[in-house]
Each structure stands twice: as structure tokens, then as C-alpha cells.
């Protein structure tokens, strides 16, 4: 099976710099606890230049570089970040397998869809570079060949043809074996994998046992390690634990950027776009805050998500400092992408989202909506509130009118005699009624309005099966000095009510 291995040199260091941009170019180390001692697991390039080496105690490292900053190394966080990277690459490959802490395999079986294996490797590296990671990529048939070449090879992108593993591996040093086996071979005076490969298999098996035989086979370009694709999470959720509880927005901003970058990468890898998100903040020592975020236009753009999250959270008042932030995508839809025409500004949608987010923050979520029609006979119940999710504009040929027939016509005739303004609740009219029951005048806002024209009645009734049945005779009435209004006489109490205005 063809697979591509992506190796990110000192991945935890790269990740740390992405999360805290101020660390770029500074000496720092990621430290893990080994038998009660804090030892350097990964060091930044500047620290390496100062002589700090992985495995060194933190005390020794600080002695070498007094301004060395250190952070705890959490393998589960690195695995998490690698998974996100793998999911972001799902647009190029059908599956990925993690190889923590510095790399992952991609299933290169679908390479022909992007034009071949080399373009696949190049595209994968480009996608990683967009997310801020630098790496090497090698496509080969065996897991060991691809991994060893990516870690120890000289070229940034390499494709090893089927059966060419042994030849490609031959110049690599014994360090590429990454285990105790390398030491045994080097004590025999061997230096490269090629020299190991030419040893007689029987002799290696007799001396080195199963492990020796396996290493020998790998050096010959034979490896039967299976590809086990990582299982994708159903729920798109990301979490960042802050190093210190944050009392201002500034540290939270970096955490939010990490969260939205990861969510954006995962969404775009799955070709999905977020419709509704929830940001939850765990407070220190107790308490929790949840902020929902609903998007009018589904998006997977991390930058837009970050802008919106910032707008929503910036002015949030919390009683305790924030210890942990998480973001979850509650609802997502298919991402159809955006086709821009010449002269279109891609930030048009961003402006919409930002203004909606600002209004939601100030006015509340229920103050903004789009109306929808309901199949209800009672006039005031014939519409309902929906979420505002406007359809995309059609562009290109479709917008030029070549598909004009596809435009859905509005239901003509329905509702044409309905008033454009409808009172929230029918207002009881202070009405002057003739002996015959005909409406003569009404008093509205302290003024008497004479009826100059009257049309009707239109009888609406129903809902006798419910608790509040209605039976109304509607009249279209022209009041002098006011205009045409929609008035009904309620069958239950015989009084006139004003319901709407033909404005």
C-alpha cells in the first residue's frame, strides 16, 4: 500500500511558537518529568544553538542558557494537534495514521485525484504551511521506508517507487533505526542501512533473533506494518487549558486563535462549514460561562470564526478568571465553497457576520430573525421567526440571466389583500356603531376618525378544536385622516377590533 509520511521537525516546538508567537526566535524548551527529574524533551533552535540537548536536565539547560523559558511537555496535546493536522489533510487523502510526536502517515491511495504522488506530497506540505507547520514528505510503499527517509533523508519531497525501498534507504545512517538494534550493528562496524541490508539474512536472524531479522527486513525495504487509519471524532470540539487563569482578554485571544484554527482546519478537511458554535469557559476556582455563536452563512474560515469569537467574548463580564476555553461545533453543514466573480470582495460575508455578531451581542439573540410563513389560518399566527440564513448569491452565468427560469416566483395573489402592518395584538376599537351594526367612526389616539369607505366582511373562523377558537368578520375600512385599516368584529363578544393597517 502506498503511503505518505509527513515529518514535522520538532513538532511540539513548532506548535508552541504558533500558539505563542512571542516565542519565535527565543530560547525555550519543553520539559517532561523523568523519574523525578525535569528533563528537556524538545528545545527550540536558539536553545539548541546554545548547547541545550534533549535529555538534559532543566538545571543543566538553564545553566547553559540563563534566559531559557520552559513549558511542560504534554504528549496528549501534541497528539491532539497532530490529529487536527491529519483531519485538515483529509481533503487530500482518505485516511491518516498518527506517529506521535512528530509525524503522521497519509493514505496515498487517492493520489491520482490530485495529479500523482509528488503533487500529493507537495500539496500536503503546502496545506501544512498554511497552518504554520514546516515539514518533509516521503511517499513510499512501506511504513518504515517512508518514515526513515522523511526523518533522516536530505530531500524535502521524495517519492520512492514500488520495490525501490532498499536502494533509497541504503545511504541512511544507522540512527534511522531508532531503537536498540542500531547499537548492535554499529558495534559490528556498520554505519549505514545499506550495509545492514547486504548482511546474510540467516546470520542476522541467528544472532539478533526476531528483532534482528525484522530490522534486517526493513533495511531491505520489506515492512509489513499495517496502515491503521485514525478514527475521526463525531463531535468537533477543541479545548485549551491556559497556563495561568486569565483575568484579561489578551491571553484568551491566543487560546481562541488556537481553537478556531483547529476547528477551521478540521472543518475544511471534512468539507464542512460551521453553522452554530458554543464557546465554553471554565472559570477558576468555580463557575462556567457559555457563549453560543450562530452564523448566518456557514463558514470554515478560521479567521472569520476568530473575529466573531473575539467580538462576542471581548466584552463579556465574568466573575472569575478563565482557566480553560473550549469550542464546540454544534451544527455544521456542507461547505460548498465560495465562487467569486471578478471584482467581488471576499470579505463581503465577513462584514455581514461581524455586524450580525455585534447586533446579537447588544440586542440579544431573539431580536434578530428572518420571518417564515406558516400554514395557519389565523392572521396573527401566519408567520414565525426563523434563523437568518440567507442563500448565497448566484454568480457567473447563472446570475447573467441564462437560467432566469429557475428563479422561484413568489406565490402571487396570496396575501395581497393583507395589510403590511399587523398589530402585535388586536386593539379594541372605541367605535361608534349604527343601529344596523355598521361601523360609523372610531376614536384612535384621542382623535375621532370617520369611516369613509367600508368593504367586507371576510369571515375567518376556526380552531374550534383548540382552547381559543375564533370567529371574526373582517372589514377593510378607510378612516378619515388615517387611511385604510383592517378591522374585525369578533363573533364572541360582538366588538370591533383594529388588527392591521394597509400602510
Amino acid at each position: 500500500m502506498r503511503r505518505a509520511y509527513l515529518h514535522f521537525t520538532r513538532f511540539p516546538v513548532q506548535r508552541k511558537v504558533l500558539e505563542l508567537p512571542e516565542l519565535a526566535g527565543r530560547p525555550f524548551a519543553l520539559v517532561e518529568e523523568v523519574r523525578g527529574q525535569r528533563r528537556v524533551a524538545f528545545a527550540s533552535t536558539t536553545a539548541l544553538k546554545a548547547g541545550v540537548r534533549p535529555g538534559m536536565t532543566l538545571t543543566a539547560a538553564t545553566a547553559l542558557e540563563p534566559v531559557l523559558r520552559h513549558f511542560p511537555y504534554r504528549p496528549e496535546d501534541e497528539a491532539r494537534a497532530l490529529t487536527v493536522l491529519g483531519e485538515a489533510l483529509m481533503a487530500l487523502a482518505p485516511g491518516f495514521q498518527l506517529s506521535p510526536p512528530e509525524g503522521l502517515w497519509l493514505d496515498a491511495g487517492a493520489a491520482h485525484l490530485v495529479g500523482g504522488e509528488e503533487p500529493l506530497a507537495v500539496l500536503a506540505l503546502e496545506r501544512c504551511a498554511e497552518l504554520g507547520y514546516r515539514g518533509h514528505a516521503v511517499v513510499a510503499s512501506e511504513a518504515f521506508t517512508s518514515r526513515a527517509l522523511a526523518r533522516h533523508g536530505a530531500r524535502r519531497v521524495e517519492v520512492v517507487p514500488e520495490g525501490g525501498g532498499a536502494r533509497a534507504l541504503a545511504p541512511l545512517p544507522l540512527a534511522a533505526l531508532e531503537g536498540g538494534e542500531g547499537a548492535a550493528f554499529s558495534s559490528l562496524g556498520l554505519t549505514t542501512l545499506g550495509e545492514v541490508a547486504v548482511l546474510p539474512a540467516g546470520a542476522v536472524a541467528a544472532r539478533g533473533g526476531v528483532a534482528g531479522a525484522r530490522v534486517h527486513a526493513r533495511c531491505r525495504g520489506e515492512d509489513d506494518t499495517p496502515f491503521v487509519a485514525a478514527v475521526l471524532d463525531e463531535v468537533l470540539e477543541e479545548r485549551v487549558v491556559l497556563d495561568f487563569p486569565a483575568e484579561s482578554f489578551e491571553p484568551l485571544r491566543f487560546a481562541l486563535k488556537t481553537l478556531t484554527d483547529r476547528l477551521g482546519a478540521r472543518l475544511s478537511g471534512r468539507r464542512r462549514a460551521a453553522v452554530r458554535l458554543t464557546f465554553s469557559m471554565k472559570l477558576d476556582p468555580r463557575g462556567q460561562a457559555r457563549v453560543p455563536l450562530t452564523l448566518a452563512r456557514p463558514t470554515a474560515q478560521a479567521k472569520l470564526l476568530l473575529d466573531l469569537a473575539r467580538h462576542r467574548l471581548e466584552e463579556l463580564k465574568l466573575e472569575n478568571p478563565v482557566a480553560e476555553v473550549s469550542a464546540r461545533v454544534d451544527e455544521h453543514s456542507e461547505d460548498r465553497g465560495q465562487q467569486l466573480a471578478l471584482g467581488d470582495a471576499p470579505e463581503g460575508d465577513a462584514a455581514l457576520e461581524v455586524v450580525l455578531s455585534r447586533l446579537v451581542t447588544t440586542l440579544g439573540e431573539h431580536s434578530l430573525f428572518a420571518a417564515g410563513l406558516e400554514a395557519v389560518h389565523r392572521p396573527e399566527a401566519a408567520h414565525g421567526a426563523r434563523g437568518f440564513h440567507p442563500p448565497e448569491r448566484r454568480r457567473g452565468l447563472a446570475a447573467e440571466g441564462l437560467e432566469a427560469g429557475a428563479r422561484a416566483d413568489v406565490a402571487a395573489g396570496v396575501g395581497r389583500e393583507r395589510p403590511s402592518r399587523l398589530l402585535a395584538a388586536p386593539a379594541c376599537l372605541d367605535a361608534e356603531v349604527a343601529e344596523s351594526g355598521r361601523l360609523l367612526a372610531a376614536r384612535l389616539g384621542g382623535k375621532r376618525h370617520r369611516v369613509t369607505a367600508l368593504a367586507g366582511p371576510e369571515r375567518l373562523g376556526g380552531e374550534w378544536w383548540a382552547d381559543v377558537p375564533y370567529q371574526r368578520d373582517y372589514y377593510r375600512v378607510h378612516f378619515e385622516g388615517l387611511g385604510p385599516a383592517w378591522v374585525f368584529r369578533d363573533g364572541r363578544d360582538g366588538r370591533f377590533y383594529l388588527q392591521g393597517l394597509f400602510d
Partner: protein, 293 residues
Amino acid sequence: MRAAVEQRGEAGATGSSGSVVEQLREKIRQLQAAPRRYLAVLRTGMEAVDALLPAGGFPLGQAVELCGEAASGRTSLALRAVAAAHHEERLCAWVDGPRELYPPAAAALGVDLERLLIVRPQAPEQRVWAAVQLARSGAFACVVLDLTRGVGSAGRTPRVSLAEARKLADAAERGGGLLLLLTSPEAPADGMTRLRTEARDGKGWSVEVVRSRQGGTGTRAELPWSVLYPELGLEDGGRVLDVAEAGADATPDFLRDQAGALRNGCGILGQRPGRDAPMPSLREGLDAAGVAG
């Protein structure tokens, strides 16, 4: 695409495939040469009203005020502008202060409800702020700000201050969309193009340009109600159907007060209530008759 199919049909008839490519190229050239349709005005679709406005419609990038009584056609005019923007697949917003916009009527006028954002701020002073935000964003081709007061509500209508009017005009100009203000005559907004609508009688209504920087002040158009509401039917005093009085027999029995109450508390046909209702006390009856005494 349809054009392409037609072209292919013609090519099949003539049998020359080279000319099809040429024709398609020519078609592409025409499409590319055609000027891009930029929206500059929103037409109401009523020629008499459009002719009043110097630009031939509501101009984008400006704040226009529609001032009139409670039912004088302001809302319908605004809805037509919104429908014109929706025809070009642009978004619109309606800041609904009095909470009176009736979406079914809007849909009947051609408004695409999916593309219309309705904003109903809780506090009246947030209306102008919301409209400024919406207009300034540039994401909406038309923002309608309804500054009127609901019919039933008491108190005075708050006026838009000069500073707020300036802000609104500035937001419309910066966002490049139309900002329509719906106001009532007792509380007009200041400093912008103003159209005054008036309901004359059952026959019609009129629009008059009261204030305009591009001229045309004082011009007036009178229109029948049927252009806004074709089925209103209020001409010549209206038509009233001769129906039985509501008190007589119009209302079905089940909608009136409970029939049981009418029949002295007994069941249908006046017989004794069943097990569900308690039996009338015998003692009360005896007391009334004076038997116990």
C-alpha cells in the same frame, strides 16, 4: 446553457462543428463585453413614484425618509424597494421598532423573506444604533428603519436628533446601501430627502417630494390604492356584503358562551345533569319552598 443547447441543435442541422465554437466564442465575447450590472437605484416598480425621484428610484448610498400617517402607503413603498433589492439577490434589513411588519404581506409584494433580516430591538433608543450598524456594514443593499410608534401605544414619538440623522446619513453613504426611514408627520427626521405620503380617501393616496437636494421639491403623484393593494375594494365607499347580524345566527353554537349556562345550569334539552355535575341540593329546594319551616 440553454443558448448553448440551441446552438448545438443548429450546428447539427448545418453539420459544421467549427461554426458552433465560433458562435459560442461570440456569445462569450458578448457576455464579457456587457456592462456589469451594478445596482444604483432601487425602483418601486410604480412609474409615477419613480419619476418623482431624481435618480429614477430610491438612490443607493443615501438616507431617504418616507413620512406619513399610520396608513398612507409608506410601508408598501419600502417593501417594494426591498423587493427590488431582493430581485438582484441582495440582502436587506428591517429595523422594526413598533413590531408591526406583517411578513405574509411582504412576501406577497415580492420580498424574499429568507433575505430579509428583521431586527426588533427591545429598547426604542437602540433602533437608530442598530440601523447605523447595519447600514455601515455594507452587507445590506437596503436597510429600513421604522421610527413610528405603534397605533395603540401612548406617549410622544421620540424624534431623531440632528446628530443621529447625521450618523444615519453617514452610515448609508459609507455602506453604499439605501437607508429608508419610516416616520410619522409629528416626528419627522431631519436633513435628508423626504417623501410625504398621504391617504386621501377610499380611492387613492399621494406621494409628494417635500425635501430634496437634487431638486424636484413639491412634485406630487396621486395613485389609486389598487396599485398597492389590488383587492382592497374601497373605491366608491366600498362594497358591504349583506350578511346576517352577528347576534342573530352567524356564530356557530360552539363558539358562543356555553349552552349549558343558558339553560339554567341543566344539560342539553334542559334535563337533569348527569353524574359529572353535582346534583342540586335537595335541602335548598325545600328551604325555598318553605317545607322545612
